[in-house]
């Protein structure tokens, strides 16, 4: 049996340990904020935090989250909004919005490890996350503005 903590709640999983975390979150916990985009860790739409680090849940088998803390977009802020979410809203980042949970989770992970990311830092951290609507320049601006807010 796999035990994990999702958004602060203890969970147990007895199914296929090879099942990617993504489908556990979406189909079983009904946490659909985490999105399916490619299934191959190519687009970042499924990004969640495992013990505070960004991972692609579509290629993270359940056996790799045994004993882990998992945070999804739904659990990012206990009350109100996370500073990154606030920055996203202020910058009007989303268009269709489908990739944005993954983008936000990736940006949260970046800012946890790097309080003042440069353009190059942002490129490196975010280039695994695809936005087909093309909101990249607003994502960059929102990350910078969130960094200022957090600092």
């Amino acid at each position: 049996m796999i035990q994990l903590r999702v958004n602060g709640t203890d969970r147990q999983f007895e199914g296929d340990p090879e099942m990617p975390l993504l489908w556990y979150l979406r189909d079983m916990l009904e946490l659909t904020g985490t999105k399916f985009g490619c299934g191959m860790a190519l687009c970042g739409a499924c990004t969640v935090l495992r013990n505070g680090e960004a991972v692609r849940s579509c290629t993270t088998p359940m056996k790799y989250v045994d004993g882990a803390r998992v945070t999804t977009i739904e659990g990012l802020a206990r009350n109100g909004l996370h500073p990154v979410q606030k920055a996203w809203i202020e910058a009007n980042v989303p268009q269709c919005g489908y990739c944005q949970a993954g983008q936000i989770m990736q940006a949260v992970a970046l800012l946890q490890s790097n309080k003042k990311p440069t353009d190059q830092d942002i490129d490196e951290a975010m280039s695994g996350n695809i936005c087909r609507c093309g909101t990249y320049q607003r994502i960059r601006a929102a990350i910078k503005s969130a960094a200022e807010g957090i600092a």
Binding site: G15, W23, D27, G37, L42, I73, Q95, C96, Q100, I130
Partner: protein
């Protein structure tokens, strides 16, 4: 009868809407489709609120309330409900059209709730494509809002026993000027619901100076839900008792299953059964592709089971399709004389005169949409009826397609529209919803069909593959005296009409016959091309390859003439004038030529502004650095883009800046519009840099984002500046027109930076380094 009816008096407020005491329905269609005889009790109210999903998806809210038409409702507590009947795929239309209504109603935007309409033909077109939502419904939304406002004024005046002329509105309130009396909209709702609906000629629309929201805009209604993971997309739809399906489809269009071995698939834990899906009956149109579905109690199990299917296919006639060979055929077809779509003067005589002639050929491969949300849908077949939840651009096409697939009346197909995780034209085709409905009927449970990314890339309705042949005779100054352009592309009509192989009027009207250049001898032709894959609409459609050929060729001619590309482009456009193409049946994107003329003064202005804003010719560019310009009118909006690129010695391209100038006439929501053009710059960058779908033996070679690459943050323009030309002309399209000029502007910039002329897309196929 007035087209706007006060439905609250006719007892339509059943179920969920019974809280709203004052409801207006706006109708466009004939009286025979009257709401009075409509299918009551079969619709569903789409309360979006917290979840963004229809709440009956999430909470099982009853299906009894019915929104008969586009309408506005006001609750006794003052809440204003506005129905969005167009699909939200990221353009902001779900916000922008209700904003127009709210403005005319003089409503407080903070007290507006938006409800997404189900598919219903009485709404008029819900096909959210062609960048036409604002154009098509701006006036209608204003009238709907103004009607409600007038009735609220009349209700207040009656209560105060004064003339309505003495009353006015002020943000959710009716005010009597002389006495200073005020009543809120909520307080007036019940009384207003008892009044007759005024005729259209009684309405007084607000003067532009009194607009609160139009022109200023508002952030997306769904912004916070999207940023907190609460927004509901089709992929997120869920109903009780639902099972999951993944379908193995024929790898070649028109192929069929010869035999299936599902023994291993059925051994996967969670897999309950496999179900054959019948192939479409030609033409494929919007129908399902067929194949074998694996049904399971979660997505992962369905995918695992599908991987273990052993299927033998009969690939059928389209197995002959090979992109390499087809490209040569297409180029050959484009070189030959084709059907003449427009003819001015006499190009042959002009060419025969001798002098300098320049020729060039361009090629654009198939493209895939690759919206971030792959197609997905939930459908429940029960008691002969279907209720579907789908991220669709066209819920009425869902009704049509599902009703035909199951042999049930169209009225018995209820299509709830979720948010769309991107659409770009793919989700105008409801084949994936038909799959869910067919499977639900077979399985006897609600079914969710999930497309993988591989399914999305391999079974798309692809953007046409195209070849263009261009020829110009130029005078001593390098200006064309004759211009011939020929094209061959796999037309979208091939998806609907067997054997259709010439471009339709609509496609040829997308930047091809309407080339806005001032050339004495001009001929536009189109040759045949037979499609072997499904062809559909992709953001800006035929404008992509037409703009690429024309604007690239214009740049080549400028270079050949030793002229500055901006000056030369302005010369080609010529003096301010209106180009009249009525004699060739030009469709002008379904809009009138009077309201939306091809006005070269406006085309010149965006070019001049783009040059000015980008500081064209005023910067010293370093080695490997270059700027390119292109201008294109599409969806009755004119756009010029200047792209600045830098190309390293090893051929790596970066795009530090794009300046895009847009003349879309009057703009309702500049916040959303600017975002559309920023996004279009990235979409165009993807097409130009890496967009390429190919087929071998009828099967698509690409499968996911590693081999169908779209632009990432590092590939995209670093900064796109969008400038909106301020004018009061009728509002044009904004979702698509940013894409076409972006592609040639980028390629022209690459030429300026490297001296390498790009005649075939994508750039990734070219060696740009030293």
């Amino acid at each position: 009868m007035s087209p706007i009816q006060n439905v609250s008096r006719r007892g339509f407020l059943k179920g969920a809407l019974s809280g709203a005491t004052f409801v207006l329905a706006v109708r466009y269609l004939p009286e025979s489709a009257s709401a009075e005889t409509g299918p009551l009790g079969s619709g569903s109210r789409l309360e979006t609120g917290d979840s963004g999903l229809p709440s009956d998806t999430v909470t099982g809210l009853n299906h009894t309330a019915f929104h008969p038409n586009l309408f506005v409702g006001i609750d006794a507590d003052g809440t204003v409900y506005i129905v969005a009947h167009r699909s939200e795929m990221g353009t902001g239309i779900r916000t922008s059209l209700p904003l127009v209504l709210a403005d005319e109603l003089d409503a407080d935007w903070k007290r507006v709730k938006i409800e997404q309409a189900i598919g219903d033909a009485r709404l008029g077109s819900q096909d959210t494509d062609g960048s036409q939502s604002i154009r098509g419904f701006f006036d209608v939304m204003r009238q709907a809002g103004a009607t409600a406002r007038l009735m609220l004024v009349q209700a207040a005046a009656a209560q105060w026993n004064v003339s309505p002329a003495e009353c006015e509105t002020d943000l959710h309130t009716v005010v009597h000027r002389q006495s200073g009396k005020k009543l809120g909209y909520g307080e007036l709702a019940l009384a207003a619901s008892k009044l007759p609906v005024p005729a259209k000629d009684q309405l007084k629309l607000k003067p532009q100076t009194a607009w609160r929201y139009i022109g200023k805009g508002a952030p997306s209604y769904d912004l916070t839900d999207v940023c907190t993971g609460k927004a509901g997309f089709g992929m997120d739809a869920r109903v009780p008792g639902m099972v999951y399906a993944s379908i193995e489809r024929p790898p070649v269009l028109g192929g069929q299953v010869k035999s299936v071995d599902d023994k291993e698939a059925l051994k996967v834990a969670g897999v309950s059964q496999t179900v054959p899906v019948d192939p479409f009956k030609p033409p494929h149109a919007m129908q399902q592709l067929g194949g074998v579905a694996v049904i399971a109690d979660n997505t992962w199990a369905a995918l695992q089971g599908r991987r273990r299917l052993k299927i033998e296919w009969d690939h059928g006639a389209n197995a002959v399709y090979n992109s390499d060979g087809f490209k040569k055929e297409l180029q050959e077809a484009a070189r030959k004389p084709g059907k003449v779509a427009r003819n001015v003067g006499d190009v042959e005589t002009a060419f025969a005169k001798g002098g300098k002639v320049i020729e060039a050929e361009y090629y654009v491969p198939h493209l895939a949409h690759a919206s971030m949300e792959p197609p997905a849908a939930v459908a429940e077949f029960r008691d002969g009826k279907v209720v579907a939840w789908a991220p669709t651009q066209n819920p009425q096409a869902v009704q049509d397609t599902v009703s035909k697939a199951l042999g049930i009346p169209k009225e018995d197909v209820i299509c709830n529209v979720t948010l769309l995780g991107g659409g770009f034209g793919r989700k105008s085709m409801p084949d994936y919803v038909a799959e869910a409905a067919i499977l639900s009927k077979r399985v006897g449970k609600p079914v969710k069909v999930v497309w993988t990314r591989e399914d999305d890339i391999k079974f798309d309705y692809y953007h046409a593959v195209s070849a263009m042949y261009m020829k110009a005779a130029v005078d001593a100054g390098g200006k064309p005296t004759a211009w011939l352009q020929r094209s061959a592309f796999t037309p979208i009509t091939s998806s609907f009409v067997p054997g259709a192989n010439y471009g339709s009027g609509g496609e040829l009207g997308m930047g091809w016959v309407d080339i806005p250049f001032d050339i004495a001898n001009l001929r536009v032709e189109n040759g045949p091309a037979t499609a072997h894959v499904r062809i559909g609409w992709l953001r800006s459609v035929a404008n992509i390859y037409h703009a690429f050929a024309i604007q690239s060729f214009a740049n080549e001619l400028a270079v050949a003439a030793g002229r500055d590309p901006v000056d030369y482009l302005l010369d080609l456009i010529g003096q301010p004038r209106v180009i009249n193409l009525k004699d060739i049946g030009y469709q002008n994107y379904g809009s009138s030529a009077e309201a939306y003329p091809i006005d070269t003064a406006r085309i010149r202005r965006v070019v001049e502004m783009a040059a000015e804003k980008s500081r064209w010719g005023k910067q010293k560019l370093g080695k490997g650095s270059g700027m390119g310009i292109a201008v294109h009118r599409s969806f009755v909006t004119t756009v010029a883009s200047v792209v600045h690129v830098e190309v390293t010695d090893d051929g790596k391209i970066t795009i530090p800046r794009v300046d895009t100038v847009v003349d879309a006439g009057m703009v309702v929501n500049p916040i959303a519009v600017k975002a559309q053009f920023e996004g279009a710059a990235v979409f165009g960058t993807s097409i130009a840099r890496t967009g390429e779908i190919t087929a071998t033996a009828g099967k698509i070679d690409q499968s996911n984002f590693h081999n169908y690459r779209v632009s990432r943050m590092t590939d995209a323009p670093y900064q796109t500046n969008v400038y909106l030309v301020e004018n009061n002309a009728a509002p044009g399209g904004v979702g698509e027109p940013g894409v076409p000029p972006m592609v040639p502007a980028l390629c022209n910039a690459v030429y300026a930076a490297t001296g390498k002329q790009i005649r075939e897309l994508p750039l990734s196929k070219h060696k740009l380094g030293k």
